[in-house]
Amino acid sequence: MTSSSILQSGGISMSFGAYKVLDDISLNIAKGEIVGILGPNGAGKTTYMNLLTGALRPTGGQVFLMGEDVTRLDTAERCHRGLARTHQVPKPFLHMTVFENVLVAVHHGRAVQPANPVMEAWMVLKETGLAHAANRTAETLGLLDRKRLELSRALATDPKVLLLDEIGGGLTEAEGDALVALVKSIHARGVTIIWIEHIMRLLMETCTRLVCMAEGRVLADGTPEQVVEAPEVQTAYFGAAA
């Protein structure tokens, strides 16, 4: 493990019964990276994220967060240590307002309570562009705004590492550009980002590094250009289209 490693999975594996979803994934994420993870459906990307955050316990291997073995810690404890995520299918608190959704995250997601939680929650909504909907209940939001709320809540926990699970689906060209700018500005504050995404353009424009997964293994790992041009990636990921 290098000294700059902020999140690391050591030989992590996951099986559901006899079905092996992830096989010996070892990745080292350095502080300050924006790592994109791509791969065909069923590659194990979301399972991998669930193992990193503690939503699932791996059947083998370990997870380290800032050098600490967090494999046995649950999601909430990892969140307090600075690891936040968004869910591919948003999990809003439907009967609370957008503002209250974010305020819960400020109140409970941080290791240290801020002096003014209400203001912190408001600033997050300003940043993600949801402030106009602050008083609406989450059930009235459409899918795009629900994804924004997911991101807002994750940010409200003041993360050091942020895991994004397909927040870019269904965006228009302009909305995609805005998302890229937002992710870059979050990154500029010193947040390390891991982003699972199907939309290649978003990853190419944002990431400093790409990892391609297929069938529970890492196929390629490098700069976006290297990974996209790797022959095994061409076959696994674009094979169907060719």
Partner: protein, 332 residues
Amino acid sequence: MSTPSLTITRSGPTAHVTMTLLAIAAVAIAVIPFVLGVAGSGRAVALLVYILLALMWNALAGFAGLVSIGQTLFFGFAAYTTIRLSDAGLDPFLAILASIGIGAALGWVTSLFMLSLKDGEFAIGMWVLSSLAHLCVNLDPLIQGETGISLIQMNAYALETRSALILWLALAVTIAVIAAMLLLLRSRTGAAITAIRDDELGARSIGVDVLRTKRIVFVLAAAGTAAAGALWLASASNFQPRAFFGVQWTAYMLFMVLVGGLGRIEGAIIGAVLFFAIETWFGAYGAWYLVGLGAIAVLFALLLPKGLWGWIGPRLPGEAIPTGYIIEKSDI
């Protein structure tokens, strides 16, 4: 340059009206001993006990997602400890208060192993614990099995005096429980409880300590349900284990909360008032009364699955019992 400001409000006109109505209701109940006498006081205690049971079952099922069919554990055990402590020489009113504390303690101990159980296991597990407590109580020679025993120590007070005191104690406990629920739901922990109600996984992933939060609700529900049991005993003055550990109480709790509206304090109160009204008017019809209750529950499940408050609440301009935050204005 002015400092940026953000104005939030946590209450509104609807809340003020509701609080005024609740205060008027509390005063009306408090003067019942002078107006309606002993019989009226007894019925009012019944209403307050129903409200307590509905509030507490709603807190468990509606907020913490803990569906228990064995809350009679706390209801029955508190009645038993009230008998036991009174028999040991404690003033019966102090015995009631002590039993509420014992109920909370029993809730905390129970939570240590029950909260790790999953939905169905938890529900049935609570019922098993309640049945177990029922059996153990029957083993106490003082209780004489299902023959039961009277809270004779209450006879130290004249009938009019004790019926009024029991009612006022029940009223004070109910107000305290509603206030506690309101303070809790408006606090940091309360927002976490509401978040768990809406999406437990989502709450977990933003750092909410789900187990700790559920434990707080569970212990509160244990204390409130114990209070209801001790007060019911004081009012009925006769302790027969079957009448306190019986499964009918679970059915009543379910009925009140589902008809009133799961997950809202207002719903629990309305459900309890409705149940009380139905019992008052139709309770004498025996089996047909129970058939009617069942039919009403089925109708609500089919036509108004969110209960009465699920229909009324969204039609009001703001929350009746306010727990949320509204952003008024901001220049940021």
